[in-house]
Symmetry: C2
Subunit: 688 residues, 2 copies
């Protein structure tokens, strides 16, 4: 069902309105009143006839009008019956602010489930429980149904907060941070309405330009991503994801699993599909401001204007950190600048106007450099000196019309801010630290680039999403060596020739050609190197027998038997690589590539992507690793055949997508041998 | 000469005082007046008789009293003669605010040199030029001799800024950031007084508790570090170093050089000697506040108290990022908490008091957890809800007396701040973001740990500092193979057996034992792998001859001759390591250790330290690298003999310190062979 009434109600009912100051039921109503809701307000309280000038109803049933949106703030023991009454009244949009549900344990969880079932049965939608309400700043609505009595200014950001308190902290700070939004919603326990619903709703709401999310968890990561992959979500989406954890996947028997913490997966997949992830709230809203208030930079060549050296150096440090380029100004530009800039200043980027730089000089200088083809954006920094008024400088620079963005940093005396808020014409955002704009520019460029990639590869993505699983493998646990060989053959994966020999039969084994590798197998042993279960480069029958004895010995030292020996062709490795895959319960199938061998966990030279990876994603998967750079050939070395490698990766992805019964697989090492061919030396597949 | 008069003058002369509002000469005097300097003020202006109520002198000579400190703000064309007059008047402390010297080029540089020479001849000291003055907030002085007319509050931080503007930006923001300091000094071009002088001055000034620096360069890095290494500087020292650059050392012919950017050196050496380096100004002052206002945490086990989930999660994320530990509360503590904390809250760390948590609950909860032996420090977070007044919560928590620190984070409505500034008893610092205290705690623990290390190893450090250079090697350019062998022998460095054979003589070369390595040598070729100049594991004379032909061929393809062949013992590498050293012009001798081989620049698995490294530093040098972790033995592998490796590193350090004519050296690879012994396979030494 549509979520529109949550943000655009014509009438609201506050179930649990109160006459008691400082109670939520009172403060919420007061906030609604102060902000001036453009619709009907129906407070419900069994005893009161009037609260804060609103006529009060003794029960929901008494309300003699249609209720578009109900905000429920009753004590939790009355929550369920209140929802019942609302549903009876045919209310389809309910925000349950009341806490004390899933977050407090078993009893709360069950109550939450019951409520949700009722909601679903009636085709209604529920926001919360355990949330702090909703805001729409647009003139035709003007609804602040939270209990923070601030008057947020109109903007075009959508802001969803999983944490009510984080939302409250942002609302508390509005007068200092100048954050503006169109919609705010606190989703609390996300029993029904969650980030996936809101994402799709905002994409289709023309009042929303940029979507921002504070999340502690994804309800369903795969379905959060799918609309991005399908190019259905095109608005800039910016996420602060908290609750990072170092611990790897629980059932991390594979290298691939052990190397992938939940946070790494979130990081990699958001990045792959152009979703901006920020480090903190400040960056979250700065980035939204960057998208909404300025033209977008077309490239990464940045000019810095300043009246002081130090802050400019900090800005340049930040540009470098974000891989942005300090623009090389043309001679024509520098000549023009020389006519204006103080001779002791600098016409080289960063352009230093010295403390005497005033509104007129700032404006002219900015106009000149914006015309330089080598400049994509300007960061204009102003530290308030004694002799120049900051307000005039800021206003004159922001009065410039240009297709390129100017981001102004200002470091003034405190009095400046009130003057700017009261008197500025455009009230464009200002940055307080010289480091901030670089991050904003970098986030914007990242998003624009990813958008192009997704548009271009839409059909390739759709093909992958639509792969049907054949589910032909039904084994439990790990596939046997025979099954592995069969699978490798089916998906054209270059596994080395190998044979299994019973431990006692090794003496009778007829060898066809050397060199060989011998591995001891016991189904309880996963990491063979720890057991000293492997001997490489065996050149004769005698060596083979001797090696088998040593391996048996190593096993028996750990109280284990060798059940079988695996005899394999030996390939001398030039490089050891890893390809792995695993199924993440939230985000679905994931592919990993990187340095392989026995030190993978130490080197951590791996990259991950969703299995829904287009050609460009697979290129990135390889290039993001150090071994990927080495494979491309450095220091005069011949590059190895990356196309072959890419095909192997694609084949493993196809294998994984077509066999949804595979839980995880590990190819480690995939050897790039001296003959420049790839060989899979160890391949393990674990079933769900 | 002593710098005391710069901070503690009894009389000051303002040369260039002006009657013109908004001019520096006027604003500076106004600022001095507003702040209420506790001493005599002598403005000098050739035309005025009185400015801002001060009697004005027409020339410096007219001043009929002793001048402790002169602040010069005359136009630059009069700067030199003003200094002359001050020196004639026997003024020994001069702050030259006037700009237009070294920073504008040749002419300015020469004027600056002339002034400096005069200053030195008279035994005076000069701060600046191109700076913004000095502040002392202590009651007996009360000097704000800058042109930012703020009234900084008294504190115990020393703050030095190389950039005047950065200093001004900090001063502009004081009323919002609540930064407090004892001394502020802007050192500008650092013609005479620089960070090294101030560092030592502040160490010996009992009014200074913490020293903070904004630097864009080090005048003399080695002499900045030496007092730390000698344990002469014991006060917490916190640096924001701007002007990072990716570019490696200019003459980076060696791997070691190419891997060490100036910024990496700064980073590593500050870290080695317990100097805190911060990412931004906010962290700089937060850390100073942490040292000065709270007891120091004794360990890294942190409890978090909160009235809201979201901010606590952000705090926990930050703790994890800083390798701090979320304290495990004792059962006793949890039982006590259960009596107070709302049943739907949490008594597990982070302790959630829910929005109803008020001053009384906050105080009691904090008192209980401070008594838990598993807790070293508390982060107490308060997001202002409707029903609880933030001021009371903050005050009650900060009223607790405990040997353990509590850091409070508050996210209130803007009105709170003014109330806190006006009415708080202790006015202890508050943090605005849940992420901030973790960084502060981490910085403090880092400093305390390093301090212990330096105290403990003082004599070892002194021995290294006092190593005398013998300077026995006088070769230019690279040492020859013979010289290398001799050097290795002298310092007990395990170089492999090797012999040089003229290119034409290779056919007549008598081989004693295999396997061997053959390398083509041409003095213009540094990176042998790029030239395909090496063949490994040669097992017969025939292979040797064939290899030599191939190498000759590879050289001739690049238009080069093979001059000689180097025939070496072949050791089969288990691991390839790198030890390198180079002389940094600012910071002196540097040692590097890490993964070696031909991909060093890609893997970047190296660590650097000053050659003044005690045993613990060398342990860290190894442990900070991934290969170091591998050498220690992982996954059941036998650890290699780290003591032998450490001895080799120590020997190279001794070699480097005793031969100051060595510019850089590169041991790459140092091979850890299958026999678990170390072999130097390639050793290059470049002379100054």
């Amino acid at each position: 069902m549509n979520l529109k009434k949550f943000f655009y109600p014509k009438s609201i009912c506050i179930a649990g309105a109160s006459t008691k100051e400082k109670s939520i039921g009172y403060e919420l109503l007061k906030t609604i009143k102060i902000y001036g809701f453009n619709g009907k307000v129906f407070p419900v309280n069994p005893k009161a006839d009037e609260i804060l000038g609103f006529k009060c109803f003794h029960s929901i049933n008494d309300v003699d009008d249609i209720i578009d949106l109900a905000i429920v703030v009753v004590p939790k023991q009355f929550a369920e019956e209140t929802v019942d009454q609302l549903l009876q009244k045919k209310v389809k949009s309910i925000t349950l602010i009341t806490a004390g549900f899933k977050e407090i344990g078993k009893a709360g969880e069950e109550a939450e489930k019951r409520i949700l079932e009722k909601i679903k049965n009636e085709g209604a939608r529920l926001v919360g429980p355990n949330c702090m309400g909703v805001i729409n700043t647009l003139d035709e609505i003007k609804l602040n149904a939270t209990f923070v009595a601030e008057k947020p200014e109109k903007g075009s950001t959508g802001f969803l907060s999983q944490s009510g308190a984080l939302g409250a902290a942002v609302l508390n700070s509005l007068r200092e941070t100048d954050i503006k939004f169109a919609h705010f919603i606190s989703v609390g326990n996300k029993a029904d309405v969650n980030e996936n619903d809101i994402l799709n709703f905002w994409q289709n709401d023309s009042n929303i330009q940029t979507m921002t999310f504070y999340l502690e968890s994804f309800v369903d990561g795969k379905n959060f991503l799918l609309p991005f992959i399908k190019n259905e979500i095109t608005k800039p989406t910016i996420i602060l994801k908290a609750g990072k954890t170092k611990s790897g996947m629980k059932a991390a028997s594979s290298h691939t699993g052990a190397l992938s913490s939940k946070d790494k997966i979130v990081d990699a997949l958001l990045k792959q599909f152009g979703i901006i992830r920020t480090d903190d709230l400040n960056e979250l809203f700065n980035t939204a401001k960057g998208f909404e208030n300025f033209t977008l930079p077309k490239g990464n060549k940045i000019a810095v204007v300043t009246n002081a050296g130090g802050p400019a150096i900090l800005a340049v440090d930040a540009l470098e950190k974000e891989n942005l380029i300090l623009a090389e100004l043309s001679n024509e530009t520098k000549n023009k600048l020389r006519e204006i800039v103080h001779p002791e200043g600098s016409v080289e980027n960063p352009i230093d106007l010295l403390p005497g730089g005033d509104a007129e000089i700032y404006k002219k200088v900015n106009e000149i450099i914006l015309k330089d083809d080598n400049v994509d954006a300007v960061i204009s920094i102003f530290v308030e000196p004694v002799m120049v008024e900051p307000f005039d400088v800021i206003e004159s620079v922001y009065s410039i019309n240009s297709e390129k963005p100017i981001y102004q940093v200002v470091m003034p005396l405190p009095e400046f801010w009130q003057k700017y808020r009261n008197s500025s014409q455009k009230k464009l955002p200002l940055f307080r630290n010289p480091e901030e704009p670089a991050k904003v520019i970098s986030n914007i460029l990242f998003h624009e680039k990813a958008k192009v990639k997704i548009q271009k590869n839409k059909s390739e993505y759709l093909n992958l999403i639509n792969v049907k699983s054949n589910n032909e493998i039904y084994t439990d646990g790990y596939l046997t060596q025979e099954e592995i060989v069969e699978l490798a053959k089916k998906y054209n994966l270059p596994i080395v020739r190998s044979e299994i020999v019973e431990a006692n039969e090794i003496k009778n084994y007829t060898v066809d050609n050397f060199p060989l590798v011998i591995k001891g197998i016991n189904k309880n042993v996963i990491h063979k190197s720890e057991m000293k279960a492997i001997k490489l480069d065996i050149k004769s029958k005698e060596e083979l027998i001797q090696a088998s004895e040593e391996i048996k010995n190593n096993f028996s030292l750990k109280g284990l038997d060798v059940e079988n020996f695996l005899i394999q062709q030996y390939v001398k490795p030039k490089h050891e690589l890893l390809i792995g895959g695993f199924f993440d319960n939230s985000f679905g199938p994931i592919i990993m590539f990187g340095s392989g061998g026995k030190y993978v966990e130490i080197y951590e030279d791996t990259s991950i992507k969703s299995c829904y990876s287009c050609e460009a994603d697979i290129d990135a998967l390889i290039n993001e690793t150090k071994i990927g750079k080495i494979l491309k050939g450095i220091r005069g070395e011949k590059p190895s055949d990356i196309e072959v490698l890419k095909q192997i990766i694609k084949n493993t992805i196809r294998m994984f997508l077509e066999n949804s019964s595979i839980k995880e697989f590990d190819i480690n090492p995939l050897v790039l041998a001296e003959d420049d061919k790839y060989y899979i030396v160890d391949f393990r597949v674990k079933m769900k």
